[in-house]
Symmetry: C2
Subunit: 269 residues, 2 copies
């Protein structure tokens, strides 16, 4: 890494917890390799402090972009002056950057990262039946991107029934007749994706009932620590191809890198 100075452009990754994130090392290194004097710094913002902390970070002149992880993806979207169409549909972002004209622009690369990660591994979603566990920021973005990518039908569930209903209504509005509520039974699904916290702690219950998994199904998980999660271990036992949270992140890294450095270019013009 080249020397950190007071002129180094600061990008932040906010979340709670934060110890599991891998993007700061990856993206900071990529910035250095590209000759961009920037850094991505993990910042632990407690859930109840988001609305007071985020405006303070946005007001710091040496901060160019802010990446957003759980549980702040919905909350951070409300602080943006402008959202991409997909971020606006979802009401959730995982990246925001300062606009040259003032205010911040938010976008959402979670779902795009997962779909890109699966597609890069030979598991394109077009024509497939997809099951998604979790209707939070990541789950919502993945559901939208899976249907955008041509998944024929999609089922989802979330123990938070309000979130679940809201996401189903959103998908019905944008992709009528293709999404429905799931019950944890994944029989008949080609691709099963965990987008919930289940698996972050060792004693968490499995996010779906793995007894219904077909051997030719693909199982993916957003969790990056631990890797593999218990879900992926169970899926491997059944012969399934698996993709863990680090694969999804790899899919996102180029997208996020471009998002942040495009920004830097436009601001220094």
């Amino acid at each position: 890494m080249t020397a950190l100075t007071g002129k180094t452009r600061i990008n932040l990754l906010i979340g709670s917890p934060i110890s599991q994130v891998l993007a700061p090392g990856w993206l900071s290194e990529r910035m250095q390799e590209a000759g961009y004097d920037g850094l991505l710094v993990p910042m632990h913002i407690l859930p109840e402090r988001l609305d007071s902390a985020l405006p303070e970070l946005m007001a710091m002149p040496n901060v160019d972009a802010i990446l957003v992880t759980l549980p702040h993806k919905f909350g951070a979207a409300r602080h943006c002056a402008e959202l991409s169409p997909r971020a606006a549909a979802l009401g959730a972002i995982n990246a925001m950057r300062r606009r040259p004209e003032g205010g911040w622009f938010g976008d959402n690369f979670d779902g795009a990262g997962m779909v890109k990660g699966l597609s890069d591994a030979g598991h394109a979603l077009a024509g497939k039946a997809v099951y998604v566990a979790g209707a939070g920021g990541a789950g919502s973005s993945i559901a939208v991107s899976a249907l955008e990518a041509g998944a024929t039908r999609l089922a989802l569930h979330d123990p938070d029934t309000e979130k679940q209903a809201a996401l189903l209504a959103l998908l019905e509005r944008h992709y009528p007749g293709r999404a429905r509520q799931g019950q944890g039974d994944v029989t008949g699904f080609d691709v099963v994706i965990n987008a919930s916290y289940a698996g972050f702690n060792p004693n968490d219950p499995l996010p779906v009932d793995v007894s219904g998994l077909a051997g030719n199904a693909v199982v993916a998980d957003v969790i990056t620590d631990p890797v593999p999660t218990r879900l992926l271990i169970e899926a491997e036992k059944r012969g399934c191809a698996t993709r863990d949270g680090t694969h999804m992140l790899e899919g996102q890294m180029q997208l996020l890198f471009d998002f942040m450095t495009e920004q830097a270019r436009s601001l220094t013009k």
Copy 2:
């Protein structure tokens, strides 16, 4: 530099402006060399946002310590639950760290850094007459440390007459009869120290009248960018020994490093 992860402990350096600071690179590198997984990140907090931004940074569980530069040294002191005796006397800090029992502890190493830097270069202040330009955070801390180190007499001035009077009153309380108001005339002083902003911009007036400088005087400046300042160039022309802002910073680095890593050790016990 070893990989930055979500587990890396974050230390911040706050100021406005921020582009001139050198400590982030130096101290981050020293942390890495010592096997401490930490980073010192420059954060530009605008003057009017300090009181709203600092409590948000203090509430971030992955932030261990916050270093403080101009113009926040007085303001940040008010956010500490506990101050060192010198910081309490000054009402100004340049470093604060989370206490194991909760709340934050603030200390002030500016003056100690300058005095250590001069002493390390063979210019101990004991028995000397010292002139200080600037009665802000740095100037106050340097004045206190110079008298602590045994300077016989000290003169100071600041265009902000309120700050000047407050510092003179403080010094009179702690070191009666040794400090008085200066007028910019440095005739008869052994050591002249600029602790003001003058010299940060190329067209700034000189902080003192250099025509009074004796050839055997020592002239020091707190400004780290540009180096040397116009003051130091003029002093060199007159044959004076000079110490620039980077020398003062070097004197501070070990003090600050110890302050931050002692903290890390006590919190992880």
